[in-house]
Symmetry: C2
């Protein structure tokens, strides 16, 4: 616990410092004051958007690095790679919020919305938001690249970082593609949704943190990848399933999020697929009609939540999460780490599925 | 001439092959047919958006590589870096078209518009377009990185490629910022616009092609950067000024583009700044009112074109372009290359300012 708190206290200021220096606007460019104000607003937003994450991914990377015996001398380079991963997430979220036209992120205005307020123009705000996402996506590679130079497997680390970035981008494309999946074939929809989780979420949430840490410890790339997949793939799927479940039944912890958001948006989730698969024919028709409609009101949301429970879809998600967590645990044990390392890694992994691991 | 045609015939198929393999969707992911169709549409669009550029940047890189004595053995790696640069441009254009909400690109529907048609949804098409731009921006680094491994200065090449990408992103931010510049202080506006050109255009159009080529020839990074800036900065500014000029007076070549597009959009250009600076007080007021208005009609466009000519702004742009081209030529001569190399490089540079260099 203590080590993690030390890590957390180092991550936050390092992210701010890295983002501020890499996303700085040119000082020598002679620009009128009105332009300079816009440029300053973008740099300010780059830092603001980067702040306030839970840093689970960075903490997992540092825990895996310690567990697999990473050298203390290269620890600050590993910290920078962990920060790079968090900056990559920020870049992805900035674009995500443009795609979903979201107003809020981490309790603050989303980047494009904040920049709209700064400039007084929706079009310029959206353009600046899009560019800020692009800039942060470049900056995170710069950060990772610079740090990888000081570590074993430097070239492989850069490749793994780029591979992660590409997997997430493909995952976002799959996520949009799934919106076109027919609802009738529920088993196929469940499989497709789990696939989306693998690419869109597990890739950078749990697989890449472990893979990059193990590369940083000097494991050969094939081995690092195999271990990262065996732990990270089930863990990442469990994480996303729990996140979707919290959207329906709330969390045992106080997350402050209102329930039902995914249903209101009509999102194709594993929960929905499981509910359709287990529902009676008339309930099936009801769910399909509801999710094929252009929008859903509050009574639809309540009815969908009831059906997700009564059909057993919620229970099935719980079982799916438990099975996946067991697979992740087994994969950790298969690494045959020293006890302290195994405990540390298990603890970092457990943070991704708190509702399962806390009882 | 002949060598360039050989280069051109190699560039196009290599870009298609690289984009197709790096932006391929996962084959093993079990996805319903409807989703698979969307995934295929994105891969198809990745290739389609990548096709049909003039490839001036790639040709400049290969010409500089030959002129500075690049080794034949590493020529195919240099070709891949040149293709990576062209893919980066495609990525930037895909996002540019979303920011400007453009319907057309290179005579075909823009990427987000084509994907909107493929999916029957404006929101999904725009989301997929944004992600396609992200994916291509990652893919081009992958391509450059893979090629750099086979060249001298591999690490410096990767850094230079990332630096170019960051400069363009900053340039796009400056470009949006300039839209907020007051029109009254015309000299400051002209300086700011030239600054935008340096970051948004010269960075990847003329500076990076030369810098990457010289790194590929084994020049030390400081020297490669200095030479690339001395030739590429004036050349890139001249290129963008000529492009803006063609928008107002048309080209001596048949470009097929209608004139006046920038004026209709109300773009802050060096031409506009020069016209305001040289105009009589009443014409000044007229231009400022016209460009501060939310839109401009055909008679506004004609009137602006007349004023750009009568104030001498068009002539001033011509002189600016000639001076910049002279600076680029001098910088080429300062490299003291063998005659054949100097001619080849000069020819590749001249293609960026054909209206100046053809008479």
């Amino acid at each position: 616990m203590c080590i993690t708190d030390v890590d957390r206290s180092k991550i936050e200021p390092r992210i701010v410092s890295l983002v501020r220096s890499w996303s700085a606007m040119p000082k020598d460019a002679a620009m009128p004051e009105a332009c300079r104000n816009v440029m300053d607003a973008v740099t300010h937003q780059a830092v603001s958007s980067s702040e306030g994450g839970k840093r689970l991914r960075a903490l997992l990377m540092l825990a895996a690095y310690a567990a697999f015996g990473g050298e203390t001398a290269a620890r600050s380079a590993m910290l920078d790679v962990a920060c790079a991963l968090e900056v990559f997430q920020t870049a992805a979220l900035v674009h995500d919020d443009i795609i979903d036209d979201s107003d809020l992120r981490r309790g603050k205005p989303s980047a494009h919305r904040a920049l709209e307020q700064d400039t007084g123009s929706a079009a310029i705000g959206r353009g600046l938001g899009l560019m800020l996402g692009d800039l942060l996506a470049t900056v995170c590679i710069d950060i990772a690249n610079g740090a990888a130079d000081h570590m074993p497997n430097g070239t492989a680390m850069t490749s793994a970082f780029l591979n992660m970035q590409r997997e997430v981008e493909i995952g976002q494309i799959l996520d949009l593609a799934v919106e076109q999946a027919p609802l009738r074939d529920a088993e196929a929809l469940a499989t497709a949704s789990l696939n989306v989780f693998r690419w869109k979420t597990a890739s950078y949430t749990t697989i890449a943190p472990i893979e990059l840490a193990l590369l940083g410890c000097g494991l050969d790339p094939g081995n690092a990848r195999a271990r990262a997949l065996s732990i990270g793939e089930p863990l990442g799927l469990a994480f996303q399933l729990e996140d979707d479940l919290i959207d329906v039944i709330g969390s045992s912890r106080a997350t402050g999020k209102p329930v039902g958001g995914d249903i209101r948006e009509g999102k194709r989730t594993v929960l929905l697929a499981d509910a359709i698969a287990a529902a009676s024919p008339s309930e099936q028709g009801e769910l399909i009609a509801m999710f094929e409609a252009p929008s859903r009101d509050e009574s639809d949301v309540r009815r969908a939540i009831d059906l997700f429970s009564s059909t057993g879809a919620v229970d099935r998600s719980h079982r799916r999460i438990e099975d996946l967590w067991d697979r992740a645990l087994q994969a950790i044990r298969d690494c045959r780490l020293p006890e302290q390392g195994e405990n540390r890694l298990t603890e970092a992994c457990a943070r991704f599925v708190p509702d399962i691991t806390s009882h």
